[in-house]
Amino acid sequence: MTTESAHDDHLIETRDLWRTYTMGVEEIHALRGVTFTVDPNEYLAIMGPSGSGKSTLMNLVGCLDTPSRGTYVLRGKVVSQMDDDELAAIRNREIGFVFQTFNLLPRATALHNVELPLVYAGVPKQQRIERARQALEMVDLGDRAFHRPNELSGGQRQRVAIARALVMGPSILLADEPTGNLDSVTGDEIMRLFARLHAEGNTIILVTHEHDVAAHARRTIHIRDGRIESDERTG
């Protein structure tokens, strides 16, 4: 079920998003009414103290989770009312998610990891391999296609994950602390890659603790206790 929104000029539009976890009798409000919009080709950093709700928000935006209250509209579609299979399709086509811990399938080669979203999209084998190879080349890993994750460095693994996030040509690239598990040199490398992807027209939202990482973005949202504390343009 998809309902068209009135404001389809924004890429993302959230209104009063709440996410409440119930633990026994206790209720934990990880998000307490988050409202913001993101336009195409923005580069947005989300910052905030630990436990403030950054990951929770990213999971909602990435359609890995659904809000307890509020609406989320992505490219004019009301995502907050979709069922499981529709959400899976959105995750497959509209969203590229990059995790702090890479989350590659350990037994599959780099190529096969990148190929997987195309498998679920029903793309034929020949085309899949071609597109996965292109995506690997985009992150400068054309020569590592047949390596397994344990044969790659942390930075290379994260680039495989980025290639996997990009292979379907999503509307947004989401990254939750993508440099969190990397040393600063490798982290810089990944940030330069993000800068290039942004320059090529991608929309990027990333969560980070580090100010110099956030400095790459053109806009920063600060979150505290599940609420937006500030939202400022930086570039």
Partner: protein, 413 residues
């Protein structure tokens, strides 16, 4: 996820857990191996019995006072009250059966044979008519001659002996013309039969054929005889049986409402009895199979649940990049089926090895070549069963995996 990818993924995950996969498969392995090998062995026995024991396909049959296989005490008492079959009956039947090529008679007893100091125990002494060797499958001779009409008419003390006696008494001498003692009575050897080997461990060469008239004079005059009949042709087999039946009933003045008071046995009637007996073997096998498949199914289900738990993160990743519930469900169902079918396949291989081994052991024990061919239908059945087990055992774990929430699955340590 397309079917082919799912099968490849399943094989990869099986290979990465070899020992566990093998243990998992044990139940299905046993179940399948049981069906396939029991089917192979019983069908091997069927063939063995029909070819070696019953001379199936020969145009002969016999008429006896007693059934070949007695099924109850009541039936035994009923048959014991029947009239004996006599040589006059044999003559009567012979004249009234034009579909019969040969009508003869035989009586049998067990005696000890002696040549000087050498003894041979448990010799089957058969009193027969001179046409006995032309009824049923022929036993060729290695020396001498068959019994002739004159031997029977004049109750000559002549004997055709089996190879066991010839080997025991005359390892270095010519047996023909020698006189041996069988049950204390002298018999002159006129022929020696070719060696045939043993059947179920019993020698088929420990016998002496003598004229039925001599038998009656020497051992017992009052035994009921077995009428031995060869039909003119295979096509005339039933006609011959009917003519014999009619003749005997007429001779005994049986009313049409009364049942036969004699038993007509062909190889087929005994084969039927054998197959009734093997049906019980099948029933036991089916029970064993069902139990091991149920146990195997439970083990597969358990291991699939473990696999789902271990791969919770993988499921989360797959969902995060667009796998729908049905994609995940299919992945684990396929894995469960592949697991079971591999078990079933190994079971077929195990059964093949096992039945070949058992066949060669049985062949050794029975001293005759014996084979237990694997039946194609049993293989197909076994694979269908293991697929079904895999499907049933996989449904719950697969649905459980499919229902996992992406965030929860990704957060799983």
């Amino acid at each position: 996820m397309p079917f082919k990818e799912a099968v490849i993924a399943a094989l990869v995950s099986l290979r990465s857990n070899k020992l566990r996969s093998f243990l998992t498969l044990l139940g299905i392995f046993i179940g399948v191996a049981a069906v396939v090998s029991v089917v192979a062995i019983t069908s091997g026995l069927d063939r063995y019995i029909s070819e070696q024991v019953l001379d199936l396909g020969t145009k002969s049959f016999s008429i006896q006072k007693f059934d070949a296989v007695i099924t109850s005490h009541e039936r035994f008492l009923e048959m014991a009250r029947r009239r004996d079959l006599t040589l006059t009956d044999v003559e009567f039947v012979r004249r009234r059966c034009d579909a019969c090529l040969e009508v003869g008679a035989s009586v049998e007893t067990n005696r000890t044979a002696k040549w000087r100091d050498v003894k041979q125990e448990g010799v089957a002494v058969l009193g027969v008519t001179d046409n006995y060797n032309r009824i049923g499958s022929a036993r060729p001779l290695s020396a001498g001659r068959y019994l002739v009409p004159d031997d029977v008419e004049r109750a000559q003390p002549a004997a055709v002996i089996g190879a066991d006696l010839a080997e025991a008494f005359f390892p270095l001498m010519e047996p023909l013309g020698k006189t041996i003692l069988v049950g204390g009575r002298p018999l002159r050897i006129v022929g020696v039969a070719e060696k045939k080997g043993s059947l179920f461990g019993f020698s088929q060469d420990n016998f002496a054929w003598i004229p039925i008239t001599t038998f009656r004079k020497y051992y017992s005059a009052r035994d009921s005889v077995t009428i031995q009949v060869a039909a003119v042709s295979m096509e005339q087999l039933e006609t011959a049986q009917d003519q014999c039946r009619v003749a005997l009933r007429a001779r005994r003045h049986l009313d049409y409402r009364e049942p036969d008071d004699f038993s007509i046995e062909t190889g087929e009637t005994i084969m039927d009895l054998w197959q009734t007996a093997t049906r019980n073997i099948y029933v036991v096998t089916i029970v064993v199979t069902i139990i091991s498949l149920v146990v195997g199914g439970i083990v597969v289900m358990n291991i699939m649940l473990v696999s789902v738990t271990e791969r919770t993160r993988e499921i989360g990743v797959r969902k995060a990049i667009g796998a729908r519930r049905r994609d995940i469900r299919r992945q684990f169902l396929v894995e469960s089926v592949v697991l079971s079918v591999v078990g079933g396949g190994l079971g077929v291989v195990g059964a093949t090895v096992f039945s070949m081994l058992l066949a060669s052991i049985l062949g050794g024990v029975m001293k005759t070549p014996f084979s237990a061919p694997i039946q194609l239908w049993a293989i197909v059945l076994a694979l269908v069963m293991s697929t079904a087990v895999g499907l049933v055992a996989g449904i719950y774990p697969a649905s459980h995996a499919a229902a996992l929430a992406p965030v929860e699955a990704l957060r799983y340590e």
